[in-house]
């Protein structure tokens, strides 16, 4: 008795054979226990794989915000490069105005990347003291100086803004299970 090869049996387990091949293989399997065992082994593979379907529990809103921000950066960088006169000369060096544009765009990316990775204090243009929440935590700005108060990598932070001039960041302490609310008040 001729047996179907491994590829045929592997495809049969997932219903991936064409109609004629499926019929022929089914007929063979009805008579051949060893091939049935082979197909059962492939079935086991298919049964275990859906474990990969699970996606971790994520903060989708925050993820979406980060992705959108980075997409904007990427598109802006693409515009920068396109705004330089194409094509580049074959010498491989970038000359003149294109160099300025390319360098400026690179600096924008580097600086922005640094800001996104490591928020730096920046001088505020506003006159009064200001408090705000960012993706990293709470920032207070006064007299041209900025203080940042981060949440130290805690996930799921709920912010609350008060029109009087305070910002609260609430999260569950992963160690103790207690809720902690950090509030910064503008005076």
């Amino acid at each position: 008795m001729r047996h179907p090869n491994q590829e045929i049996l592997a495809l049969h387990a997932g219903g991936d054979l064409g109609p004629f091949a499926r019929w022929r293989t089914s007929r063979h399997l009805a008579r051949c226990e060893s091939c049935r065992e082979e197909v059962a082994a492939f079935d086991e593979v298919r049964r275990s794989l859906p474990g990969l379907a699970e996606v971790p529990d994520l903060q989708w809103n925050r993820l979406a915000a980060e992705i959108k921000a980075n997409i904007r950066l990427g598109l802006a960088a693409g515009e920068c490069v396109r705004s330089a006169d194409p094509p580049l000369r074959q010498s491989g060096l970038i000359h003149g105005g294109r160099a300025v544009v390319a360098f400026a765009c690179a600096m924008v990316l580097v600086v922005t990347g640094m800001v996104l990775e490591r928020p730096l204090p920046r001088a505020a243009r506003e006159e009064g003291p200001m408090v705000q929440n960012t993706q990293y935590g709470i920032e207070v700005t006064a007299g041209g100086e900025t203080l940042g108060l981060t949440n130290n990598g805690v996930q799921r932070v709920t912010y609350s803004l008060d029109a009087q001039g305070s910002m609260g960041a609430r999260y569950v302490d992963p160690e103790t299970g207690y809720v902690t609310i950090n509030t910064v008040y503008v005076q």
Partner: protein, 384 residues
């Protein structure tokens, strides 16, 4: 009340050299002090080592504050909340900070931890070393009595939080009693779903001056708009009318007239805001308190609540235009110190349900569910 003798702990944190970015100058020492009055119903048992590290990051100084205090309940009542006032030269740039731990349940003689776990950033060129002072601002007990200097109005804040927590625990206990663990589990899952799905805003508030932002606000004309209001029938006060100035994504100088329809004098009112953008998306924008210390609303009287501030809103780094603002009462404090908060029926309003994040207690219990399972949540509910 505090007396003149204070327990004081001085700590010096050594500098951390990790993460330096090409800095040659020596970094200043940072220090932390913790004040707990002798007559306080809590005693400071211990404090973590190396609570403060300073590291240079380019033009900034990053202070890693990992303060773990162990406090002990030395009173005879169960403690349900603690607020610490955190003052530092850095935070004094804009004000003070506080760390509040609600939903505690600490019996007499029991010890409990309070973590101040955060990073402060400040410009490196600020003079002097970083210094952080931590003061006990308030302790709330199970029977809603309070101890502390209350400089941050922590009594009112903690009382309101505790009442909300009791409200939510009562609901969950009823759910458990009537429908069992599966229903409680479903409630935990719903809370988590809300945590993930509630739309989030980034906000900023400036006292008294306009916030200049790139984008819509920079070129947007200012217009006067009326507040819409959600009324809660059982609220002791009702918003009568309100207005604010809107310019793009900024809300300026909000004003709300409020009438006391209860039989008791009111000394504090707070409103929540829901912002609606031109596309019809709703967000919880923030809150508006009556901050005037002389605010007093006699029964039947009407008074004005006003904030001379400018709030700006964005999401994902993009300004959110304000089409409409809707206000609703979130907290009322009577002259006798009693506090009113909305009940669950008020908050289950469909308009609010999609913008309100879970309450503090809901979040705590849902987190407990994730870590320890539904049986732990049921056990926890029994403790209150």
């Amino acid at each position: 009340m505090c007396n003149n003798v204070q327990n004081r702990l001085w700590l010096l944190g050594l500098l951390g050299a990790a993460g330096l970015l090409a800095q040659d100058a020596a970094l200043p020492n940072c220090s932390v002090t913790v004040d707990v009055p002798n007559d306080a119903p809590v005693a400071l048992l211990g404090i973590s080592n190396a609570p403060c590290n300073a590291t240079a990051r380019g033009a900034a100084l990053m202070l890693d504050l990992h303060l773990s205090l162990t406090l002990k309940n030395t009173g005879s009542n169960r403690i349900h909340g603690v607020t610490l006032r955190v003052v530092s030269q850095e935070v004094a740039l804009g004000g003070v900070g506080s760390v509040y731990q609600p939903s505690l349940n600490v019996g007499p003689g029991e010890a409990f931890p309070v973590h101040i776990d955060t990073q402060l950033m400040r410009p490196a060129q600020l003079a002097g070393g970083p210094a952080v002072q931590v003061h006990l601002d308030g302790v709330l007990f199970q029977d809603l009595t309070f101890y502390g200097p209350d400089r941050l109005h922590s009594r009112r804040i903690m009382t309101a939080s505790e009442m909300e927590a009791q409200r939510d625990r009562d609901y969950l206990k009823r759910l458990l009693a009537e429908q069992g663990l599966p229903a409680l589990r479903q409630a935990m899952l719903r809370i988590q779903a809300r945590q993930d799905s509630v739309p989030r805003l980034q906000g900023r508030v400036v006292r008294g001056h306009t916030v200049t932002t790139a984008g819509i606000a920079a070129g947007a004309p200012e217009r006067q708009a009326q507040f819409a209001f959600l009324q809660f029938p059982d609220s002791p006060v009702e918003p009568v009318q309100g207005s604010l100035l809107i310019a793009g994504n900024e809300a300026r100088t909000p004003v709300i007239d409020v009438r006391n329809r209860s039989g008791k004098a009111v000394k504090y009112v707070e409103f929540g805001w829901v912002l609606t953008d031109p596309a019809g998306h709703d967000y919880l924008a923030g809150s508006m308190p009556s901050t005037d210390s002389s605010f007093a609303l006699a029964p039947g009287a009407t008074a004005r609540v006003r904030q001379d501030s400018t709030l700006g809103f964005s999401t994902g780094g993009q300004p959110v235009s304000i089409q409409k603002m809707t206000g609703f009462v979130t907290q009322v404090e009577f002259a006798d110190g009693k506090v009113w908060v909305p009940n669950r029926q008020n908050l289950e309003n469909p308009f609010l349900a999609k913008v309100l994040a879970p309450s503090i207690e809901e979040e705590r219990l849902a987190s407990l569910y994730v870590r320890k399972g539904i049986d732990a949540v049921a056990e926890e509910l029994k403790k209150f």
